[in-house]
C-alpha cells in the first residue's frame, strides 16, 4: 500500500473519531503522568506475555530480544504521548503492524495486549491526576481516541500486509510442495545420497530464489565438517572446505536445536556468533536444518539470501520436510550398503569355503571355488544339471543322511549319495554328495572321498595282512623248530655217512630244499608282518651301495657294474636304512635274474614334487635302470602284485615287499617308461 494512501486513510480516520487539537493538547498533558509509570507498564505488559504460549512462541531471541522489545514499547509510549502526530508517526505505527505479520503474532493477542496497555495507561493517569474530575474525563477520552487510532493503524497495517503476503506465500507453498515431491521421487529412485544432495541444494536455491545453499557433512574427525554439496559457492570449495563444529560453534548450536533454525537478519542476530559462513559477508538471511539419521548427525543443510528475507514457520517446516526425506534416503542407503555388504560376505564365505558347495536352483548350478577345484571345471562350464550329469560316470546309491547331520535340523530332505565323476583332466574321482532339498532349490555339499576310500581300502588290506602276518608268524615259528630238527638230524647224519659221497650229495640237496623253504617263510612273513620303520639320516646312494655289497655272491662270476650318477639332489634323508637296502636288494636280485651279462645297473635322482597320503611336499625321486629285457606289458601291470613272478624260482613277493616298504616311508614306487632298453623303476620318497 502506498504511503500517501496510508496517510490519507489516517487523516480520514482522525476526522471520523473527531481527533482535534484539544485532544492533542490533553494527551500531551497526560504524557508526564504516563511516562512516570512507563517501567511499571512495560513490566506488566511482558509479564503477561510470558504467561501465554502463543505470545511466548513469537519471542525466539531470548532475554536480549525481550530487552529490545521493551525498549520498543518504551519508545512507543513516549511517541504516542508526545507526538507529533504527523505522517511519519502513522508510518511508524504501520511498521508495528507489519512486524506483527513478520513474527506471526496472532491478531487476537494484539487486541488483548492493547486492552491491557489501555487499562494500565488510563489507570496511571487516573491515579496521578491532580485536577478536576471533569478535566480528567476529557483527558481520558482523548487518550482513548489516541489508543484507538494507534490500534486501528496497526490493525490495518497487519491486515494489509497479511493480505499482500498471503498470495506469494501460497505460491511459495506450491513451489515448496513441488520441490519436496521432486526430492522424494529422486530419493526413492535409489539415487546415491551424494548425488541427491547435489540436486537438493540446487532445487532449494531455485525454490527459495536463494543466493546460495549447501550441505555440510560430519567427518570422522571430531569437530570437523566438510562442505559436501554447494550451490552458489565458489567452485573448488565444495569437497574441500572444512569448518569447525566443536562445542560452542555455530554448527553445534544448529545441531542442538534439532529442527530448522532461521536467521532473518544477520545484522541483528544475537543467538549465535556470525562466524558460520565463509560467505557471510554477502548474506543477510539464512535458514538451516540439521540432517539426522537413526545413527546420529549427518550434517546441516543451509539456504542463504543476500537480501534480508522473512523466514516464517512454513519455511521452517519445509526445510524440516526436506531434511526428513534426506534422512530417510541416508538410512535406506546405509541399510542397502549393509545388506549388500552382508550378501557379499556370505557370497565370499560360500565361495571360499574349503569344502565344495554347489547351489542348484531352476536347473542351474552355481559352484564355489572348492567345487571348481574338485571337478577341474569352472562355473561357466558346469552351468546346468545336465552338465553335471555329463561328468558323472557312475551313480552310487542314494541314502538318507545320518541323524547327526546339521542339515537335518532344517526342514526339507537331506540325502547322501556317492558319484564317480570324470574330472576335466580325465581323472576319475569318487565324490560324496550331501544334498539338501527344499521346494525351490538344492544345496549340495560335495566331498572328494577318493583318497578316503583308498585309505579305507589300504587300511582293510593292512588289517588283512596283519591277520595273515600273525598266522604266518606262528607258522614260521613252529616251522623253524621243525627245520631246526631236520637240520640237526641232517648234520648228524653227515658225520655218520661221511664216507658216502652220493649220500652226502643227497644231504646237500636236502639242505638246499630246507633253505628254500626257510626263505619262503621269511619272505611271506616279511610281506605280511607290519612294517616298523627305524628312520635314521642316510643317503639313498649309500643304501644302494650296501645292497650291491650284500649280493656279492650273486655277482660272483658275473660281468656286472653299478653306476650311481652323482647329483646334488642326493641329500641326507630320514630313511630306515635296513629297509631301503632291502628294497634295492630286491631290485638288484630281479635285475640279475633278468639280465644277461654284461649287467649294467645305473641309478640317478632328481628332486620331485612329492604327493603322498600325507600331502604334497618336496621329495627325491630315485631312478633305477638296468639293461635287461625290460618289463613285458603283463609284468608292468602286475609287477607289484604279490605272488606275481616272471622267475621260475621265487615267491613273487619281492616287488610287493619293496612297494610296502616304500609306502611305509610315505613314498611311491612305480615302473616308468624309459627311452632306452631295460627296466626302469622310480622311487620317490618325501623329505621329512
Amino acid at each position: 500500500m502506498g504511503l500517501e494512501k496510508i496517510d490519507a486513510e489516517y487523516r480520514q480516520l482522525r476526522r471520523y473519531v473527531g481527533w482535534s487539537a484539544e485532544d492533542e493538547t490533553r494527551v500531551r498533558q497526560a504524557a508526564p503522568l504516563v511516562m512516570k509509570r512507563t517501567e511499571e507498564i512495560v513490566e506488566d505488559f511482558y509479564n503477561e506475555i510470558r504467561r501465554h504460549p502463543e505470545t511466548v512462541a513469537v519471542i525466539t531471541g531470548g532475554d536480549r530480544q525481550v530487552e529490545r522489545l521493551k525498549e520498543s514499547l518504551r519508545h512507543w509510549i513516549r511517541d504516542a504521548f508526545t507526538g507529533p502526530y504527523d505522517d511519519s508517526y502513522v508510518r511508524r505505527r504501520w511498521q508495528i503492524g507489519k512486524r506483527h505479520v513478520d513474527i506471526g503474532l496472532v491478531q487476537l493477542f494484539v487486541h488483548a495486549a492493547f486492552s491491557r496497555l489501555r487499562t494500565q495507561i488510563l489507570g496511571a493517569i487516573g491515579s496521578a491526576w491532580m485536577g478536576t474530575s471533569q478535566e480528567l474525563q476529557l483527558m481520558l477520552v482523548s487518550v482513548e481516541k489516541l489508543l484507538d487510532l494507534d490500534l486501528a493503524i496497526i490493525q490495518d497495517a497487519f491486515e494489509t500486509e497479511y493480505q499482500s503476503r498471503q498470495r506469494p506465500l501460497d505460491e511459495m507453498g506450491v513451489r515448496q510442495q513441488r520441490v519436496i515431491a521432486q526430492i522424494s521421487e529422486r530419493a526413492l529412485s535409489g539415487l546415491l545420497v551424494r548425488d541427491l544432495l547435489d540436486q537438493v541444494v540446487v532445487l532449494l536455491a531455485e525454490c527459495f530464489r536463494a543466493t546460495c545453499s549447501e550441505v555440510f557433512e560430519c567427518t570422522p574427525l571430531p569437530g570437523r565438517w566438510v562442505l559436501r554439496s554447494g550451490y552458489g559457492w565458489p567452485s573448488g570449495l565444495v569437497g574441500a572446505l572444512a569448518v569447525d563444529s566443536r562445542p560452542g560453534s555455530d554448527f553445534d548450536y544448529l545441531l542442538a536445536r534439532r529442527r530448522s533454525v532461521a536467521c532473518e537478519d544477520w545484522a541483528s542476530e544475537s543467538r549465535f556468533q556470525p562466524t558460520l559462513l565463509a560467505a557471510r559477508g554477502s548474506v543477510s538471511s539464512s535458514i538451516w536444518v540439521p540432517l539426522v539419521t537413526g545413527e546420529g548427525h549427518f550434517g546441516v543443510l543451509g539456504v542463504h539470501f543476500s537480501q534480508p528475507r522473512l523466514l516464517g514457520p512454513m519455511d521452517g517446516d519445509f526445510m524440516q520436510s526436506v531434511a526428513n526425506v534426506i534422512g530417510t534416503a541416508l538410512e535406506r542407503q546405509r541399510s542397502d550398503e549393509l545388506r549388500h555388504e552382508n550378501e557379499e560376505r556370505l557370497r565370499r564365505l560360500v565361495d571360499r569355503l574349503p569344502a565344495g558347495a554347489i547351489y542348484l536352483a531352476e536347473g542351474r548350478l552355481y559352484l564355489n571355488r572348492a567345487a571348481e577345484g574338485m571337478t577341474g571345471y569352472d562355473r561357466g562350464e558346469l552351468k546346468g544339471l545336465s552338465d553335471w550329469r555329463s561328468i558323472v560316470v557312475q551313480q552310487g546309491e542314494e541314502g538318507v543322511a545320518p541323524e547327526e547331520s546339521l542339515l537335518r535340523q532344517r526342514p526339507g530332505s537331506v540325502t547322501v549319495r556317492s558319484e564317480t565323476i570324470r574330472r576335466r583332466d580325465g581323472q576319475e574321482r569318487l565324490i560324496e554328495v550331501t544334498a539338501f532339498r527344499s521346494e525351490s532349490d538344492e544345496v549340495w555339499l560335495v566331498h572328494d572321498i577318493t583318497n578316503a576310500e583308498q585309505r579305507r581300502m589300504r587300511a582293510m588290506q593292512a588289517e588283512r595282512l596283519a591277520a595273515i602276518g600273525q598266522m604266518i608268524a606262528g607258522l614260521a615259528h613252529e616251522s623253524r623248530n621243525a627245520l631246526q630238527r631236520i637240520r640237526a638230524c641232517t648234520e648228524l647224519l653227515e658225520f655218520d655217512i661221511d664216507k658216502n659221497p652220493s649220500a652226502l650229495e643227497l644231504l646237500a640237496r636236502l639242505g638246499r630244499a630246507q633253505d628254500d623253504l626257510q626263505r619262503l617263510f621269511d619272505e611271506v612273513q616279511g610281506y605280511a608282518a607290519p612294517v616298523r620303520l627305524e628312520r635314521k639320516p642316510c643317503r639313498w646312494s649309500s643304501t644302494l651301495e650296501e645292497a650291491w655289497e650284500l649280493i656279492a655272491t650273486l655277482r660272483a662270476g658275473r660281468d656286472a657294474q653299478l653306476e650311481i650318477v652323482p647329483d646334488e639332489t642326493d641329500i641326507v634323508l630320514d630313511l630306515d636304512r635296513f629297509r631301503m637296502v632291502q628294497v634295492f636288494r630286491i631290485l638288484l636280485e630281479n635285475s640279475f635274474a633278468a639280465c644277461t651279462d654284461p649287467v649294467r645297473i645305473r641309478a640317478w635322482c632328481q628332486s620331485a614334487n612329492h604327493s603322498s597320503k600325507w600331502g604334497v611336499g618336496a621329495g627325491v625321486t630315485v631312478y633305477f635302470q638296468d639293461n635287461g629285457p625290460g618289463l613285458s606289458p603283463e609284468a608292468r601291470q602286475h609287477a607289484f602284485e604279490p605272488f606275481f613272478t616272471t622267475k621260475t624260482k621265487g615267491t613273487g613277493l619281492g616287488m610287493a615287499i619293496a612297494l610296502r616298504l616304500i609306502d611305509a616311508h610315505g613314498g611311491r614306487m612305480a615302473w616308468v617308461d624309459a627311452d632306452e632298453p631295460g627296466a626302469r623303476f622310480a622311487i620317490t620318497v618325501p623329505m621329512t
Binding site: 614260521a476 623253524r480 631246526q484
Partner: protein, 164 residues
Amino acid sequence: MNPQPEWPLPHDAIPSGEGRGKRLWPARPLRIAVADDEPDMREYLERILPRLGHQVVASARTGVELLSAYHREHPDLIITDIRMPELSGDAAVQQIRQTQMVPVILISAYARGASENETTLELCSRLRKPVGRSELEAAIKSLADEVADGLMPTALDGEEADHD
C-alpha cells in the same frame, strides 16, 4: 654307580703267564651247559659240540634244570633255547647274571623284529633257528673274541678264591 655283576672265573681262566686283572677264556675245550626242551636238539648239541672241540658238562630240559646245572658245574658257556617249559632260557640266564657273568648263546625261533624286547646283553649271541655247526662255531668265536678283548674289573680280583 652301576654295580658290575661278579665275574665268574671259569676254571683255568687265568693263563699262567698273565698278570692279575686280565683274564682270558681258555682256547678250548670249553665246558658248556646246553638247554633245550627238544630231545633232538639236545642230542645234536651233545654230539656236535665235542666235534667242535668242546665239552658238554650239562644238558638241561628246562630253565630250572639249567639253573641247577649251572650252579653245579659252573660252565664256561651256556647254549640255551629261549622257549622252554617252567622257565624260559633267557629268564634263567637273567637270574644267573644277577650275580655272575657267564657267556651265553640264545637260540630262538623268532624272526627278525618278531620279539620286541630283545635287549642287547653283554657276552651274548643270539641265533635263529635253524642253527647248524657253522653258526655255532661263528657264535662261539665271536664270544671268545669279546672275552679276549674285555679287561676284567680288577676290583673283583680278590674274590677269585671263592670259586673253585
